[in-house]
Amino acid sequence: MSDWKLKRQILQVGAFLLLMVAVLSIYIGYLAVWKGQELAENPLNMRGAAAKADIRRGTILDAHGRVLAQTNDDGSRNYPLGSVMAQVTGYNGENIGSAGLEGHANRELLGLTADMTRLGPVSQLLQTERGNDLKTTIEADAQQAAFDGLAGRKGAVVVLDADTGAVLAMVSSPSYDPNNVEANWKSMSQEADGPLLNRTVQGLYPPGSTIKPMIADAALTEGVTSEQETFDCPGVLDVGGGHSIRESHGEVHNRVDLRKALTESCNVTFGTLGMRLGDAKLKKAFERFGFDQSIGGEIVMTSSHLPEFGTLGTGDQAQTAIGQSTLLVTPMHMALLASAFAHGGTVMKPYLVQEVITPSGIVVHRAAPEKWLTVTTAEMAAKIHNYMEDVVTKGTGRAAQVSGVEVAGKTGTAENPQGEDHAWFIGSAKLRNRNIAFAIIVENGGGGGKVAAPIARKIILSLQN
């Protein structure tokens, strides 16, 4: 056999093997690059957790630099304000998962940002052994005032900066102490409406009369009434089908216009407006105010429960207009609604973290206020806001008055199947340097004007200086 045949066969084998190696190389490239993300993030892959265990978590601060959560030298986590800040800081435990900022801002606290992890070795230059600090929008004084105001009763408080959307306080009661959440986990996690439920964004309540500012807005916008029209309130309204709506405490308002009706929280007037608006226009109003939407971003809110518009009878329409029927909303959403009238008809997107700061002091992320929705016109917002000021100056919300501060609000006393009425107060206040909006609910607390409005006063006082 000639020599060239041997050479050809050697070459064939060589080419074949090199081809196999090339195929293998392409396959490894596919694994490392194309499938890399998926493999790296697989829940069974412990590498992410191991890398995180090497990093010291950053500190969580309030708007003035007060420490809300920090890491001790032994690596454990310490929450100086304990249960007051539980809904803000949340917790982070090996076996219990995480909640609050400890959960939502985990990557920032560990100093991992999305674009850095795939940079390879270069990311090690940027990755320190200490995570980033979070500067929140929380005002510790307002948070404390809200916490004290609830005084252990079940309920929730949300305070927003109406002009920016910054969350100034969010309190849910009963609360828990994040310092020993792991130890008490078993008993806490078994209670369905226990301390682990963040009522501000997860609690669903009938809004009661606090929905009336929106109904007033809808009635005027849709032209089913005018500011001049007067309603006759005999204390009871026949809504058809043999049902009727009554005023609370058997009051009788006699002749009222829309302004007066809101100030006195007249159920007869708003029940009438609800029936005039009908399913389609009610639905439109709820959609305008974002009740069918999620907020997006770092605030994860349970979506509202709306009545099934299109199938409602006149009774349900009237009930919906006074915040009853099957309507259920979160305190956060009511605070957003209040902020719309204090901020010219637009709702800013709520946010909790204003700055992410590296250990060396560089601000790597600064929150920019962002518009969420335009719910109504500026003129309409000013009109309703003006009505709501009357509520506080001469109506049902007088307990929220603070001398020298323009306060607007709306009380609510929501009937519910659990027992005594829920006490609501939503509204806004013009402080020296900012415009705040708030929503307060005390579960089964009774009358909103008597129980919830005083808490608003405390909060305004805490923020005034």
Binding site: M1, D3, K5, L6, K7, R8, Q9, I10, L11, Q12, V13, G14, L17, L18, M20, V21, L24, S25, Y27, I28, G29, L31, A32, V33, K35, G36, Q37, E38, L39, A40, N42, L44, N45, M46, R47, A50, A51, R118, L119, G120, P121, V122, S123, Q124
Partner: protein, 423 residues
């Protein structure tokens, strides 16, 4: 003086790697006492010996007009392997360096004594018997280490005879096939579309295939089995160019695989893991799944040397060292390693094409094929391209037998480059 500069690259990689590890140790909170990495004086003497041996070997290579590219390529692989072992199992670095010195010494001896060693090619049947004995030893006296019963324990040292068996097999195949090329291509029998010579000529080949299957079934050593089988098939094709053998071999392997799948539990487990590792990711398929995680986490650039967590993979310093390298140094380093092997292979094939002696040409091409094939099998195994096998990544993995046998192969390859002019 040619290519001395190329030799500084591996040294640089080693020194850089050790410096990174040293600095990283300084920063860490808990100090480990008696740590090899903390005290460079413990390993520097061996490094000096290795550098000295490198210089001596390269001088011999230059004087004899051998291929001066091969040693730098291999030392690249060795230095990457050494730093990765130092990072994964610092305690084993010293042992590996000692083995490297021994392996280089053996390499030097093989190059010096090559004219005598190549006489072995004249006794094919003796080589065949030697090969059978070497491979048969663990079948009879083998000890099971790490799931494979392919180890011989002789007092303080444990050896893997198959590592040396493969070299003897290479000699045997080269010498037998070149002696019988004409007979083997004689189409004496025609069975269907196959052209086969008389049975007595292909008997030795069938014998090797049978050995390979035995190794897998009895010793649970799929890697060596695949390697031996692949060697036999590829060498036979190189010598004869007959596709009938390839077909016959594949059919033989297919039948053997099907039969052992049906008969043996551990074979079935291996294949089931390969087909669907996600069915039992924390149990039987743990190693492969962790290896895939390592490669995925590494991505294109890796996590950075010393910043990954390759420790999750059991046996990471031997069979799975490729995954650890990809995790920390990225796909880039992984492909660079593969390219080093491919370059070495190409130098081997290129050299073989210039040789006039059929036996030597086959031997030299065989050396290249053996190294590349071994790399292919283990890399394919840890990436789930093929079922997982338990062989080392030559020149990189931790292991004395593997290091010495790989350097013997290298010495053979180098010696055979003699007749070619340097490019």
């Amino acid at each position: 003086m040619k290519n001395w500069g190329l030799l500084t690259a591996p040294l640089g990689i080693f020194l850089c790697g050790m410096t990174i590890l040293y600095l990283k140790m300084q920063g860490s909170v808990q100090k480990v006492t008696n740590n090899t990495l903390q005290d460079p004086l413990t390993y520097v003497p061996y490094l000096v010996i290795a550098v000295f041996l490198t210089i001596v070997i390269q001088m011999v290579v230059i004087r004899r007009k051998l291929d001066t590219f091969i040693l730098p390529i291999i030392l690249m692989l060795v230095s990457i392997g050494l730093v990765e072992i130092a990072r994964l199992k610092p305690a084993l670095l010293l042992r590996q360096l000692q083995w490297l010195c021994i392996a280089m010494l053996v390499m030097f001896l093989v190059i010096r004594l090559w004219p005598k060693i190549r006489q072995m090619l004249n006794y094919p049947y003796l080589l065949g018997i030697g090969c059978v004995i070497l491979l048969g030893l663990p079948l009879l006296f083998g000890t099971e280490i790490g799931g494979s019963k392919n180890w011989l324990v002789l007092g303080p040292i444990s050896l893997q005879p198959s590592e040396f068996g493969k070299i003897v097999l290479l000699f045997f195949l080269a010498s037998y096939l070149s002696d019988h090329r004409k007979v083997l291509t004689l189409p004496a029998h025609k069975i269907l579309f196959l052209r086969l010579p008389p049975l007595r000529f292909i008997a030795p080949l069938i014998c090797i295939w049978g050995m390979a299957v035995l190794m897998f079934v009895v010793e649970k050593d799929l890697g060596s089995a695949l390697l031996f089988f692949g060697m036999a098939v590829l060498m036979t094709y190189m010598a004869t160019g007959s596709k009938s053998y390839v077909f016959l071999a594949l059919a033989f392997m297919g039948m053997a695989a099907a039969a052992s799948y049906a008969m043996f539990g551990h074979v079935r487990v291996r294949f089931d893991i390969w087909l669907n590792p996600w069915a039992d990711p924390n149990g039987m398929a743990y190693q492969v799944v962790q290896s895939l995680f390592a490669i995925g986490t590494g991505g294109l650039w890796g996590t950075g040397f010393g910043f990954g967590h390759p420790g999750f993979i059991p046996e990471v310093h031997t069979d799975f060292i490729f995954s650890a390298i990809v995790e920390e140094m990225g796909l880039t380093a992984g492909l660079m390693l593969i390219i080093c092997y491919a370059l070495l292979f190409w130098r081997g094939i290129k050299g073989a094409l210039r040789l006039k002696n059929t036996t030597e040409a086959l031997l030299m091409a065989g050396c290249g094929v053996l190294i590349l094939l071994q790399m292919f099998i283990i890399v394919a195994g840890v990436t789930k391209f093929l079922p997982l096998t338990g062989i080392t990544l030559p020149f990189v993995s931790y292991g004395g037998s593997s290091m010495v046998s790989s350097f013997i192969l290298l010495a053979m390859l180098l010696s055979l480059t003699k007749e070619q002019k340097n490019v």
